[in-house]
């Protein structure tokens, strides 16, 4: 189901997650958040990738392709790219050529899909190719195979500037994303903007609050010990404020990504990024 968003102006009571506190001490308490609100340095002027805030060892892990585990997924993606698939027994490579042909593609996603009349993120776009052009079943969101293909395609845009889609329909989608971004949600009643605009650069527990630029997805999060997509990262944030997360691949997440990408226009793509 779609996530439950509590609007600041009131309305129906939010459906809250049951307090399943299985992490030792990691859930944010109201007190912790209040302390952050009181002590934060405030938003920074310039936009910076979370990369800039990371310890040198983690930056080194990301920078060296023989050390960045994300490249393992890209390698699996290469195999899938070349493998005939679906009822049509046709490989991605047969239509698209080498994976390098995908240079710059990830930088303009999410984008508008005329045929279905909706915005799609990169993973959904790949699944459309599976369904429409390979006669195959869509791959499960967050599955190893879909992450591998998405990582391979995203890798081809590494170092390129984020260049949001110019499809006119995307304006409205970004508008929805911006609205979600500034809507308070969850038991802690915080908006994305509260943390990532107002408090960016401050600290939450031991973590520095980043500006939340989606430059590095799919990414290898040390917390996950594997690759994950932006949906998964955003679900972590929503659970953090004790909101019911939106469904993987939902229009809400696509809209949020479209807004985040516009907010990060011109910043360098760095997938597969490493993050703590």
């Amino acid at each position: 189901m779609a996530g439950q968003v509590e609007r600041a102006e009131g309305g129906a009571a939010p459906r809250l997650r049951p307090p399943r506190d299985i992490c030792r001490k990691a859930r944010w308490s109201g007190a912790v958040v209040a302390a952050v609100l009181a002590g934060a340095a405030g938003a920074q002027d310039g936009r910076v990738s979370t990369y800039e805030q990371m310890a040198p060892e983690l930056r080194a892990m990301q920078d060296d392709d023989f050390s960045n585990p994300g490249l393992l997924w890209a390698q699996t993606g290469e195999e899938l790219w070349a493998e005939p698939s679906g009822a049509d027994e046709v490989a991605c490579a047969e239509c698209h050529g080498a994976a390098e042909e995908m240079a710059g593609v990830a930088a303009h996603y999410p984008d508008w899909d005329e045929e279905s009349g909706q915005a799609v993120d990169l993973a959904a776009r790949i699944n459309l190719c599976r369904q429409r052009h390979q006669g195959a079943e869509p791959l499960e969101r967050g599955s190893e195979a879909l992450l591998a293909l998405t990582t391979l395609v995203a890798l081809q845009s590494r170092g390129q500037p984020i260049a949001p889609s110019e499809a006119p329909q995307m304006e409205a989608v970004r508008g929805q994303g911006e609205a979600l971004y500034s809507t308070r949600m969850g038991q802690l009643n915080l908006a994305c903007a509260t943390c990532h605009d107002d408090l960016a650069g401050g600290r939450l527990l031991a973590a520095e609050i980043p500006q939340a630029h989606p430059t590095g997805y799919p990414q290898y999060r040390l917390e996950w010990q594997e690759m994950g997509d932006l949906d998964r990262r955003l679900r972590n944030c929503m659970v953090g404020v004790r909101a019911e997360p939106f469904a993987a691949g939902s229009q809400e997440f696509v809209a949020l990504e479209a807004y985040l990408k516009a907010r990060a226009v011109g910043m360098e793509m760095e997938a597969p990024a490493i993050r703590p």
Partner: protein
């Protein structure tokens, strides 16, 4: 099993070169409960060996405290052209061997 191995393609005789390897593997500790509430059975890569010129050059013995998708870097003295062989085995009995050529001269 995806793997990335970096052995320099060429080296001078006597040069000490760095070898890097990263292997996709969950390194299941046996201490973790899965979504069904049951312990996930332990399965780690427990040994990684590097051979060159018919000899073992380097070996690592891994325990559950080695992170998922294990990464190793170590050194080999280049002496003659040939192959650097890396092999590893996990507790499910999966053995993998990969070789990379090195030209010494």
């Amino acid at each position: 099993m995806a793997v990335m191995i970096n052995v320099p393609e060429t080296a001078a005789p006597g040069e000490v070169v760095e070898v890097k390897i990263i292997i996709s593997h969950p390194m299941e500790t046996g201490f973790r409960t899965g979504s069904d509430g049951k312990l996930v059975p332990r399965n780690i890569i427990h040994e990684l060996t590097c051979r060159y010129m018919g000899q073992e050059v380097f070996r690592a013995e891994l325990h559950p405290a080695v992170a998922a998708n294990p990464f190793f870097s170590f050194f080999v003295t280049a002496q003659e052209s040939g192959e650097v062989e890396l092999s590893w085995v996990d507790e499910a009995g999966e053995t993998v061997t990969e070789t990379r050529p090195i030209e010494v001269g």
